[in-house]
Amino acid sequence: MNGALKYGLLFIGLLLLQVLILNNILFLGFINPYLYIYFILILPSSVNKDITLLLGFCLGLMVDIFCGSIGCHAFATTLLAYLKPHFQKVFGPREDYETVTPSFRTFGMKEFLQYTIILVFIHQLAYFFAEAFTFTGFFQTLLKAICCAIFTILFIYIIEKLKYKR
């Protein structure tokens, strides 16, 4: 119960942080970190796959409602939530797979970063192509996705660093 409460607060906290502050950064006019997906990335593997999917969809839809981009974030985040357990199997530790919570400590820094980079890139590509809903201006959309992905990964890296600084 304690764990559920903690993740519930994290869900709301990251959502508000995203829509009220991070969405207004607009570095160079269009680059925002999409930090809210950090919630999906660090869900423990003990969480049922269907529940992970549902959480991903709800989180995306909430961000969509605030951004007015109905469906785009939901699409990308559902994809992320579906792929997450598979990549966790690849990059996570071999032993006690059933209970691991992704982080620098449990995965190891290199593996966690690889895991983050791949998933964030997939999410950003899915989001920006869902938003554009066309392949015209392909490179412009690609550039946007790459810039935002780098920014997002940077934010996740800093947060993970701070977590173990103490």
Partner: protein, 280 residues
């Protein structure tokens, strides 16, 4: 039958995943329908009031630039006042002048000032949320301007908030004309640069020059005539006898705090009359 159920259970996560993805895609494709669903747009009360709160804080921080804009608008108004005084003086001597410049025309429009509680400029389909709604007399389809020029059109209203489709939305189409010419074209946005839009459907037999101003046309009774939209920065001649014109927008969408919503008082009357004429 049993093996079918076993099959479905084995891949239930995959099916659930596909179901959610298809649901999202349906929402993206039917964007316009879902925009009308209040609880999915930012005119819903929770999202609206949350944005309202944060904009109050950020408004306080940007008081100096708002002040600057007010000073500029003040100067503009003083200038107009001078001009009108001059016209008024002239009318005292020239009694036919009143007939030529229909004096009562301005009363067709009602202006309501609203505060922008949230705005997006980084997406392909941007929009603004403002803090006046149906209860304040705002309705779908009304035009929105600020002191610099045309902002957009109201697309959704709740009691206390409205959502505005600005020019910076790939779904926005705004009737426009080049100052001094009567032909009407359409201003639309291609989704890349927030400072520029395109003007289409202006035929090539009209002479157009760089630096000409693009203004709103009164054709659709959404905006008053001659509200500034922008200036021409590039002209391209297409094969189909029309121009493709780049317009630098006069409104700075990245920094927009207050807008005026325009109500055209006799819109229904006008539409009814035109419909009657069409059906004849």
């Amino acid at each position: 039958m049993r093996s079918l159920i076993r099959f479905l259970l084995k891949y239930k996560t995959l099916f659930f995943f596909l179901f959610l993805e298809i649901l999202s895609l349906v929402m993206i494709v039917n964007y316009n329908q879902f925009q009308r669903v209040h609880f999915l747009s930012s005119s819903n009360i929770v999202v609206g009031s949350l944005y309202n709160l944060t904009s109050k804080v950020s408004n306080y921080l940007s008081l100096s630039s708002v002040n600057q804009a007010l000073v500029e608008e003040n100067a503009e108004l003083k200038f107009q006042n001078e001009k009108l005084n001059f016209q008024l003086d002239r009318m005292r001597y020239d009694t036919s002048y009143v007939k030529r410049n229909d004096f009562a025309e301005d009363k067709h429009f009602i202006f309501r000032t609203a505060r922008v509680v949230h705005s997006f400029t980084n997406m392909k389909n941007n929009y603004l949320t403002i803090d006046k709604g149906e209860c304040d007399g705002i309705q779908k389809g009304m035009g929105v301007i600020n002191e610099k020029g045309v902002v957009g059109i109201v697309c959704d209203v709740s009691c206390h908030f409205s959502v505005v489709i600005p020019i910076l939305n790939s779904r926005a189409r705004i009737n426009a004309k080049i100052a001094g010419k009567s032909n009407v074209g359409t201003v639309l946005w291609t989704g890349h640069d927030v400072r520029y839009a395109k003007l289409k459907e202006v035929p090539q037999y009209i002479p157009v020059e760089l630096g000409d101003t693009v203004k709103s046309s009164a054709n659709t009774a959404v905006f008053p005539e001659d509200v500034m939209i922008g200036t021409i920065t590039e002209i391209e001649r297409l094969n189909n006898d029309f121009y493709l014109i780049d317009v630098k927008l006069s409104v700075d969408f990245s920094n927009i705090k207050y807008v005026d919503v325009i109500e055209f008082r006799h819109k229904d009357e006008l539409e009814q009359l035109e419909r009657k004429e069409d059906s004849k």
